[in-house]
Symmetry: D2
Subunit: 290 residues, 4 copies
């Protein structure tokens, strides 16, 4: 397929490489061209604007940091919607809030395009190996059309419903990620304050029925207090802010998720934003040395 | 062994029955005698006071609702410490805070007794089948002495360190239980507010890597919104209050755990205290009908 | 002055009337024309679009519910920026977040206009009597130009700094409003749970040094549990969401403000959104009847 | 009157001095004798135990740090209840939780004594000048009996109801103190993050209708970030823990108060426990330098 790919960060560059390896023809765009070099060498074309990346593409794929960045890439003369052909498909893999996804879906339809919100689960490693998961919102036929792309990048495609529902599911999952991480580091901090050793706590709790599986790979980071970045803390903080905005819109009360969000805010304030999200441990553990 | 058993509630009655079935000789005490009938018929002796239950016992086991109730059973003329023989062992299986456990340990030692804090993991079902877990704080030799009892009641004995460390580990685990439950019901409530069906959310989230295993058995309760009691909500609320008191004592900050605790308070206020703890879902889901 | 006035809700209609009474010539616009009738009868001109309201105006004043509504009134062919004359002034009195105010300020400047963010303190009563307060962000000369308008509507004009700082100060004040209200109703709920009478608590706490002055007028509402609307609960909830978004942007952690926000969310969910904000009391007091 | 006075800390020593100056005959006890020197020189008698301090006293007054310390001073052979004469009065001015006050009241009655819970409002300065406030729980006749003592120490005596209600009112007030302080420092931190100067924020907010009066004297501390101790942070943290325990007992949900409590926990962890409570500002302001 002819694919326009916009956004070549940690995740996007790896996802684009998977598509390229699977034989799809890529036209790529990124705010800074440097990140595109490897893909260009391997045969991708460069697009100076999102609109150019969209021109002639059967599918434009975006993997950007947040709604305002997606909006900037979509709208205006240089935006992807200006370049998108009639009947072409825009699949946004960024993590965005559901109402924003629906807004983009409507804008895309108004331009004669088709739209899917297909946020990703999994981080750097799975992106490299093509083992991402996707929650997909949109029409079945549209999903079928991009299936080859999804299969090249991931191994778990979950159709969730109409446009916006992929984003909805992503909010749910990232709430669990953020609140689950903070609950766990609170348990660690409490245990250590009582004289239990962190190593023993990690051994007895991770992998067991008291903790979610996504925490298991964090054992060595927490043991050593050095945090290899898989999913930067500031991104999860951002996602929790999207959860907050979404909860406001739908009118639900999420006390725990907000308490967790504010611990992430403390962690960012302590300079931990670019470390892995599980470094949120430091925000509560380190306080004594402030 | 000659065992004094004090506290025949949902858990205690089942644990005592397991001991009896394993051939231990029981002298039992409970605030109301009615709950002891089955055990008495099966050969247990009745003790009118905790002190009587302790007299002649190699091990006195307590399974009570909270520290103040344990204290009442331990202290004073009619308390178990008054009846405990030199060198006899008191094993408190109640959920108490670590500083209280250490206080009881010291009081027991002052009376010439030995003490273990051995709080339980698992609820009604595992109690009946002898599949409980125990976190045990205290001397190794003391643990060895009661090993046959623990093996009759459970299948996972975890020695954690000196007196108080069993209770410490229990605080850690129940923090994860309470905060994990609230984080999950918040995820459900958010998802439903976005149009995702509760049944589908339960199917896709429970048993997966985003949720801890202890939530998996709650699927049918949450699907049907009728809550078979395994672990009453008000007990977990109480445990979270013990977590709060413990965090105060050791000087750590637990924002998420406290937010969760206050959701449990809302749930109790809504009349859900005697239902299963996962009915905390109703506190956030139900609000619209208030 | 020739004034374009956009947004004739509870506050806007009263503010516009004050301007009219002071002799300014109004061209008014509102989503629904009905709310303009009194002003039209008294001589105001009707504008079918925000652009029309802006055409020929020395100052366009907006008093709208939230940033997205302001944006809709500002941008596009029918938006006020399209009608604004060179050198004319747009004063936004809506409560918006500071980054949004700066964005609008830049958009206005790009159209050759001048911009002030001048959010309001005070509610229905003060609006009617011309006793509002204004926090004004923007150039001194621009503030001087609209001074007659501000003096007609209010009695306390606080210049705070460059564009965006009016909105900044408003965020600070509404955080105090929201968190202060919840802290107070928690104190009431706690006191009542201990057997203190609500009436006596109100008498001894309101007007004293333990409570902020803005709560004093709420005594009769809280005593009677019937809530005359001065400032609707859902608006303050919205403002707290703007506070949350702003704190995310500037990277600060606000645990109490977020806890308060989630109590407002509970209150909205309980159907209290259109009552006065102090009805947030019901969210915590009423729970037992859920 | 013959007065036994137990507890000569920052507050107690000043309160005892006021009584002495008013001509009452004091027998004093403190954990460490050093703090009693000034009073002894001025004619007070020394008591080696609480029981001794109570012997012969018409009124025993306690001003201690927390319930467990009060209990230790009250119970046992050396405790004040052992020394209290028939019909003598124990007035506990410590900040304790209401259920504890009722327990002490009952214990006192069982010893033939009379009991008042009379917690104090005001800190070091007012204590020195005899300008404290008292919330008094207990029988009217008992209050009348100690009226001369209260008038020597303070200028605002508020009878609140039966035993326990003084403590109840104190919980209400200290919830407002703790949550109000945190709400205000959050407002400061937010404002500063937006570019508003702290000095200007303090000038415009303190003393106005958005903030409670108790914050006004904190202006210079917050301006200079050096915190003269009037009321140590760790004491208010302790009081918020008593609020938490009380809310648990009465079954109410206090999300904001708990969020505030956890910010105090962060502040203590950052080593601020012995500074004035308004140093809680540092817990949220300082984080970036951790």
């Amino acid at each position: 397929m002819n694919v326009g790919f916009i956004g070549l960060g940690i995740m996007g560059s790896r996802m684009a490489a998977r598509l390229q390896q699977a034989g799809h023809r890529l036209t790529v765009h990124n705010r800074t061209r440097g990140r595109a070099e490897a893909l260009l060498k391997a045969g991708a074309a460069w697009a100076a604007t999102p609109a150019e990346a969209a021109r002639g593409a059967e599918c434009v794929l975006t993997m950007l940091s947040e709604p305002s960045v997606v909006r900037a890439a979509a709208e205006g003369e240089r935006g992807l919607l200006a370049g998108l052909g009639k009947g072409a498909l825009w699949m946004d893999c960024s993590t965005v809030n559901p109402s924003f996804a629906r807004e983009m879906g409507a804008a895309c339809a108004a331009c004669g395009g088709r739209y899917l919100d297909a946020p990703v689960t999994g981080s750097k490693g799975p992106a490299e190996k093509g083992e991402l998961g996707f929650f997909v919102g949109g029409a079945e036929a549209d999903l079928a059309a991009v299936r080859p792309l999804l299969d090249a990048m991931g191994n778990a495609v979950n159709p969730v419903g109409p446009v916006g529902m992929g984003a909805a599911m992503k909010m749910v999952v990232n709430l669990l990620l953020g609140a689950g991480a903070v609950a766990f580091v609170e348990a660690l901090v409490l245990g250590e304050s009582l004289g239990l050793e962190r190593g023993k706590l990690l051994d007895s709790l991770l992998g067991g029925r008291m903790t979610p599986g996504f925490l298991s790979p964090k054992k060595s980071s927490l043991a050593s207090r050095s945090y290899d970045v898989n999913f930067p803390l500031q991104w999860l903080h951002k996602d929790l802010q999207l959860v907050s905005d979404t909860a406001y819109e739908t009118g639900v009360s999420l006390p725990c998720a907000h308490a967790a969000k504010e611990v992430f805010a403390l962690a960012r304030r302590a300079g931990l934003g670019e470390q892995d999200y599980i470094a949120v441990y430091e925000a509560l553990a380190r306080a004594g040395r402030g």
